[in-house]
């Protein structure tokens, strides 16, 4: 009987062939002393390596890796920073808005009466009614933007990867 190429015996040992091919190789090996002998040698030698137990490296290796990569690690931005300028502005705008509201309620003034009284004032005359109206709308816009900015910031951070 012609002996198989040793590669086939190795493929058989490591199961690196299809089921059909493995069955063919198995049939051959069962009737070939040379191939049986070679398979035994491979099994014995690889079996000896299992006597070498798996070992663990020092537990500080990953800490050392972290030290090396630290400057490039991306840290997640904080969703809220009490010292940042945004909350300070927000509080300031909020207070202005509240004082204006209380004043309007106490003096029983409506927006139209306020506007009428303002129209005679020096700054409306200086900047024009469109300019003043634009400034008021801008202030309200900034106030709304500042009010919701921490929420937007938090939402965007939630989707970021954890570092």
């Amino acid at each position: 009987m012609n002996c198989l190429n040793k590669n086939h015996v190795i493929d058989f040992y490591f199961l690196e062939k299809s089921e059909t091919e493995l069955a063919e190789i198995r049939n051959h090996i069962s009737s070939c002393e040379n191939c049986q002998e070679y398979l035994k040698e491979v099994k014995q030698t690889m079996g000896l390596l299992t006597k070498m137990e798996s070992e663990k490296p020092s537990e500080f290796i990953f800490e050392n890796i972290l030290k090396e990569i630290e400057p490039s690690v991306v840290k997640p931005a904080k969703p809220y920073n009490s010292l940042s300028v945004i909350p300070i502005l927000q509080i300031a705008f909020g207070q202005i808005f509240l004082i204006t509201l209380i004043y309007l309620v106490q003096t029983k003034l409506t927006i139209s009466t306020v506007w009428e009284s303002m129209s005679n004032s020096w700054f409306v005359q200086a900047f024009g009614s469109i300019g003043v109206a634009f400034a008021i709308v801008l202030c309200i816009g900034i106030f709304i933007a500042l009010s919701i900015s921490p929420v937007l910031l938090f939402e965007s951070n939630k989707n970021k990867s954890f570092s």
Partner: protein
């Protein structure tokens, strides 16, 4: 392991390396946890030097971090890529220096949980036999040609297919199988010479 790490532990290697690309250190830690033991043992048997093996382990994962943009999942798995980096570093180290044989103390061999092997329950003769056997195998591996050793160790410690080893070492499968036959034959000869 915190909750984020527990959650990320379910991610595939490819998902984790994508996060490493975004400079996420927790993703690197999980990849390290998955592969550091088989990789370290492969390098340890290759170099037979603990200190050098730990340095190589550290350098390999540091390179994974800085070169994560070079990983392409179409070309192969993360494990294959990791070992490609590791083998190149190991080969370079071996060329730079010829490491002398360093006896790996059997007493220092630890289990996964950090406790020592069951030496207390064993007879002194049995411990001595095991130590001698380990020592003999270490010596035989030490003397084996690095190219032959590489294939045998990757097969043994990482259960890699010849196709994967071919990718890692950039060597045709046929050549690797020939090296494997040669390696097994050499190892048997060396073990016989060492009176095993």
């Amino acid at each position: 392991m915190d909750n984020v790490e527990k959650y990320m532990n379910k991610y595939s290697d490819e998902e984790l390396i994508a996060l490493v690309l975004e400079k996420n250190s927790k993703a690197l830690k999980i990849l390290y946890e998955r592969y550091h033991i088989p990789f370290y043992n492969f390098v340890l048997r290759y170099t037979n030097n603990r200190e050098v093996s730990e340095d190589i382990l550290q350098e390999t994962f540091t390179r994974v971090w800085f070169a994560s943009h070079l990983f392409n999942s179409d070309k192969g798995s993360f494990k294959t890529w990791l070992f490609t980096i590791g083998i190149n570093i190991t080969r370079n180290e071996m060329i730079k220096k010829r490491y002398t044989y360093q006896y790996i103390d059997f007493e220092e061999v630890l289990n996964e949980d950090g406790t020592s092997q069951q030496l207390d329950n064993e007879e002194p003769e049995s411990i001595l036999e095991k130590t001698e056997l380990k020592d003999t195998i270490s010596q035989a591996l030490e003397k084996l040609n690095p190219y032959l050793k590489e294939v045998i160790l990757l097969k043994h410690y990482n259960q890699m297919k010849f196709r994967e080893i071919a990718e890692i070492t950039n060597t045709p499968e046929g050549t690797l199988k020939a090296r494997f036959h040669h390696g097994i034959a050499e190892l048997r000869k060396l073990l016989q010479r060492l009176e095993y």
